[in-house]
Amino acid sequence: MAPASSEVTGLLRLWSAGDETARDRLIPLVYDRLRQLAHRRLGFAPVENSLNTTELVHEAYIKLVDAPRIDLPDRAHFLGLASEIMRNLLVDRARARLAAKRGGGLKALDISEFDWISDENLETVSELDAALKRLDALNPRQGQLLQHRYFGGLTLEESASAIGLSLATAKRDLRSARAWLALELKGIQLT
């Protein structure tokens, strides 16, 4: 059963108001919807119809949330959460596939579960995830900003709103974070 949009909207409000248990209850709903959306795409021809991660995240929002009744910050919260879930989905997939490729003998994959994720860029997913984890340790805000950007396609405004930053701060944080990430992905370590 798909959750009523009012349910998601209500949870989103509670979470915005500081109720972290509401966030925990939201996660499975968003997770299911993202997979559901991605699977639905699969019934059609691949190129023209598939949604990229950003589109999936935004579509999950449209499908799950009673949009007119929600404030912009709540929307940003949702998209931020969806970015995180998307990241987890992709990273889990990447880890499993890459392990299987290397013959690591991990448990068999549930193929149907992940069919909508292509193998092509999983190395990048894995590398980006590792880099963002390191950034999280240095500055969690910046880690979130990049996560929102790459896994959810949030705009800077949405991202700032989701994290609770001013736009100016978010801009500043993003610039140095990107410069850092570009170095990190080339294997250059700052000291």
Binding site: E48, N52, T53, N121, A179, L181, K186
Partner: protein, 868 residues
């Protein structure tokens, strides 16, 4: 590095990035000595910052593409090409990859479309492509996507710069919403059709119209993308052997690799429309070859099987677009737009009707949407025809059983009476006549069965005679009669067959149609077939069903056509415009309905031929519609008689007329109008006896047609057989005294016989409604009967009409002048009439007797091809 250190570095970075480039350098310089580690870190970060956009864009694209979506397959994000900064890949399709870019010169965001590497063309193909692209770009139309410029990268890839639209493709919308509301779908289809019309008018065919190539902007505007691009694909596809894009929207002719025109785009629009309305594609399949096979060979499910609330007219429109034969689709986007407008009105009407409390008006609108005739009518017709044929064949065998010789060869004859309109709603009249008309036509195609022409059966019925009496008068063995009753949503048709000799009903049946259930048509088709199998095991069902000619599958068009015929056969001044209107509407409903084009051609040519309108205005139209009818279906008798009429009466082309009439009679030698026109052909060749024979044949085939009987009078007069003409004229006058022009013919016969009192008496009593072309005959009678003043008055009237530009012919003037004995003036008028074409009666008209020896007259006859 830890969080604290990163905080320090970040603070340093934030501070230095705020500075102007020159200040950054001096700041870095000062750090080099004071804090070498910080200096190194910041220098790395600054360098990285400069390259970050370029280096990280592929990462973003790769992550996005993990779920199969956008990426940067050409690796162009972050680069600057020509004067465009490439920001991100927006999408990839069969043709290429689209990037969001910034135009440095004009300082605006644009979309750049790069053709995929396998579209790299040789020089001449590239030139062709550029020409096409520029032609498309030159089209300034609100529903087409303009092209800013075309360029080439260093690698030699072609790219196109276009506006960057906010909004979504129709593909995205369909994927998200599935099917859409009828009004939304119609709005989008209309805009696409507008765009196609503009492009096709410029000679540009899209070739790859599909939802992915249609942008729907936030304000609802639709823009068609990628005009002309598919041509580049087609030019390379053979080289690489690859199949690009989707086959789903390809027309059959494209699948077969044939030459395509704008109608291929109309097909694609049909597929798109089907998808918008039903949420699914008309031709499905898992593999491309399966889809291609379906496109070539399968009929799509009726849209209403997936969405029951679709109006029939809308369904018909979609199916018309999806005709496998391009000739059966709409001829062009303009025609489609006209139909769309109509369907749009009807659709809006339905919605309004549902809102209104007036059930009556709602029902009336529902009826407009689902006119009952078409296949329903054909199904009834088929059943009745088959039953009648069966009974008649059985009847034919019965005498043989009794030992009467040669019974099997006996020709059976039948008349079909107009079906009674129970309830008397006048709007049903053309419909009830229409059933009988269909039956007449269908029965007429069965060998060993003589079917009385409809006008005769109809005219006797209108006189209120009993069926048995009608049968006797028409000298037929059987009469088929019936009734149509409409109540609420049901329409009941009763039919029965009466044996005239016994007066007994030998067969009857009822057919009921639930007007609300549109699937009933296919059900009835199958009933028809099962009855065929029951009753006529010896005759293959296909033969019988084929005898019912499906001139159109469109019920509404068929209804409108029958109404047009109903008015056309009245042949009076008020009815021609009505007939034209109905035929035109029939065509609008089914633009490939040949019979309706032929009807429209006749309605124009005859309107002029009878003198109700100037040929200058009507003739081009008549010719155009007749040509269209011929192109659509060259096997219709009506098409060839229409062409013959024009050739003979307007073009003076006897050879062509003869040829068309021969064709018509080869198709159906029992067609009364074809014989009637052939009589006129013989008049034009100075063959009076042949003309009279043909006139008689027309009368035999359709004995109660006032038109045929009246024309036979003319042929007898032209043949100099005045006594026979008088008998014929009196007989006809008795039955149909008000038929247009009949009084003038009768008066002329009396005049030729020297019976002026009677001639003048007839003219006095039939002054109303003269046929303009016969005004001359009237004046001639006055002239010959010593009523010169009235004759001159007729002349003045005719001459003033010519001055005013109203319809009047010099031919009529010549007749009157000849009657007055003004030879010179008569010849002058005849010479003028000859400029307009052939004078059919130059050899036979008795009025010319006094002119025969004049050299000018001899010259005229020579001009008409006679030895003189």
């Amino acid at each position: 590095m830890n969080a604290q250190r990163w905080g320090e570095i970040q603070a340093g970075f934030d501070a230095i990035i705020e500075l102007a480039p020159a200040d950054r350098a001096s700041r870095l310089q000062s750090l080099a000595t004071s804090d070498p580690e910080m200096h190194e870190a910041l220098q790395s970060l600054l360098r990285s910052d400069a390259a970050a956009s370029r280096e990280l864009a592929p990462v973003a694209a790769a992550i996005a593409a993990t779920t199969g979506g956008h990426s940067d397959p050409l690796g162009l994000v972050g680069r600057t090409i020509s004067h465009f900064d490439l920001h991100e890949a927006l999408g990839a399709g069969g043709m290429g990859v689209v990037y969001r870019a910034y135009d440095q010169r004009l300082r605006r965001a644009v979309a750049l479309k790069f053709l995929l590497p396998h579209y790299n063309l040789d020089a001449s193909a590239k030139a062709r492509f550029l020409r096409e692209a520029h032609a498309a770009a030159a089209l300034d139309h609100p529903n087409l996507c303009p092209l800013y410029e075309v360029g080439t990268t260093d690698e030699g890839w072609l790219f196109l710069a276009m506006p960057l639209y906010e909004g979504e493709t129709l593909r995205a919308r369909l994927t998200r919403d599935g099917s859409m509301m009828t009004s939304d779908a119609l709005n989008i289809v209309r805009q696409i059709a507008e765009g196609l019309r503009a492009a096709h008018a410029a000679g540009i065919v899209h070739r790859d119209l599909k939802p992915g190539n249609v942008m729907v902007l936030p304000d609802g505007t639709v823009r068609i993308l990628d005009f002309g691009l598919a041509k580049a694909r087609d030019q390379t596809v053979t080289e690489t052997g690859g199949a690009f894009g989707t086959v789903s929207y390809m027309s059959p002719e494209q699948v077969r690799g044939e030459k395509v025109d704008g109608r291929a785009d109309l097909w694609a629009l049909g597929v798109v429309m089907y998808e918008m309305l039903t949420g699914r594609k008309p031709f499905g399949g898992d593999e491309e070859f399966a889809i291609a096979h379906a496109i070539l060979h399968d009929q799509p499910d009726l849209p209403t099987t997936h969405r029951r609330d679709l109006p029939a007219a809308l369904e018909a429109l979609v199916l018309r677009l999806l005709q496998k034969d391009p000739a059966k689709r709409y001829a062009d986007a303009s025609t489609l737009l006209r139909d769309l407008e109509r369907v749009g009105t009807l659709t809006a009407g339905t919605i309004d009707a549902m809102r209104t409390r007036w059930r009556r008006s709602s029902r009336r609108i529902a009826d407009t949407l689902r006119p009952v005739s078409g296949r329903f009518l054909l199904a009834i017709t088929a059943v009745a025809v088959i039953t009648a044929a069966y009974l008649l064949s059985k009847a034919a065998l019965a005498p043989a059983n009794r030992g009467v010789a040669a019974a099997a060869a006996v020709q059976r004859s039948i008349a079909v009476l107009p079906f009674k309109n129970v309830g008397g709603d006048p709007s049903n009249a053309p419909f009830s006549d229409g059933i009988a008309d269909e039956l007449t036509t269908a029965l007429g195609k069965i060998d060993q069965l003589n079917v009385m022409a409809r006008t005769s059966a109809f005219s006797l019925t209108r006189k209120g005679l009993e069926p048995r009496e009608i049968g006797r008068q028409l000298n037929v063995q059987y009469v088929l009669q019936g009734s149509v009753e409409t109540a609420a949503n049901r329409r009941r048709v009763k039919a029965n067959l009466i044996d005239i000799s016994s007066g007994k009903e030998v067969w009857s049946n009822n057919f009921e149609n639930d007007a609300m259930n549109r699937d009933v048509f296919s059900v009835e088709d199958s009933i028809t077939r099962s009855i065929v199998h029951q009753l006529l095991p010896r005759i293959p069902s296909a033969a019988i069903v084929a005898s019912v000619k499906h001139a159109t599958e469109n019920r509404e068009a068929r209804d409108l056509y029958l109404q047009g015929r109903y008015f056309f056969e009245k042949r009076d001044s008020a009815s021609f415009p009505k007939a034209q209107d109905y035929f035109r509407r029939a065509i609008r409903s089914d633009p490939s309905y040949a019979l309706a084009y032929a009807g429209l051609a006749d309605a124009y040519s005859h309107q002029s031929g009878f003198g109700f309108a100037l040929p200058a205005g009507n003739l081009p139209k008549a010719k155009q519609y007749a040509a269209r009818a011929l192109a659509l279906d060259s096997t219709l008798v009506e098409v060839h008689t229409a062409l013959a009429f024009i050739a003979l009466f307007f073009d003076g082309d006897r050879a062509r007329a003869r040829q068309e009439l021969e064709t018509a009679l080869r198709l159906d030698d029992r067609n009364a109008p074809a014989h009637l026109f052939r009589a006129w052909y013989f008049v034009s060749t100075d063959s009076a006896s042949a003309a009279i024979a043909e006139g008689r044949r027309a009368v035999d085939l359709d004995p109660f047609s006032a038109l045929n009987n009246t024309r036979l009078i003319s042929f007898l007069v032209l043949g100099g057989r005045y006594d026979e003409a008088l008998v014929q004229a009196r007989k006809t006058f008795e039955r149909d005294p008000n038929f247009a022009g009949l009084g003038q013919e009768l008066a002329r016969v009396y005049t030729q016989l020297g019976r002026c009192d009677e001639a003048l008496a007839v003219l006095t009593h039939t002054a109303d409604q003269p046929v303009p072309l016969l005004r001359g005959v009237r004046g001639y009678t006055y002239a010959r009967c010593n009523h010169r003043a009235q004759a001159v008055a007729e002349l003045d009237h005719l001459r003033s009409q010519i001055r005013d530009g109203d319809y009047a012919s010099h031919y009529s003037l010549a007749v009157v002048e000849a009657g007055l004995g003004n030879k010179d003036q008569a010849l002058a008028d005849l010479e003028k009439a000859a400029v307009g074409g052939l004078i059919l009666t130059i050899e036979l008209e008795p009025a010319w007797a006094s002119l025969h020896s004049d050299p000018r007259f001899i010259a005229l006859t020579r001009k008409m091809g006679f030895p003189g």
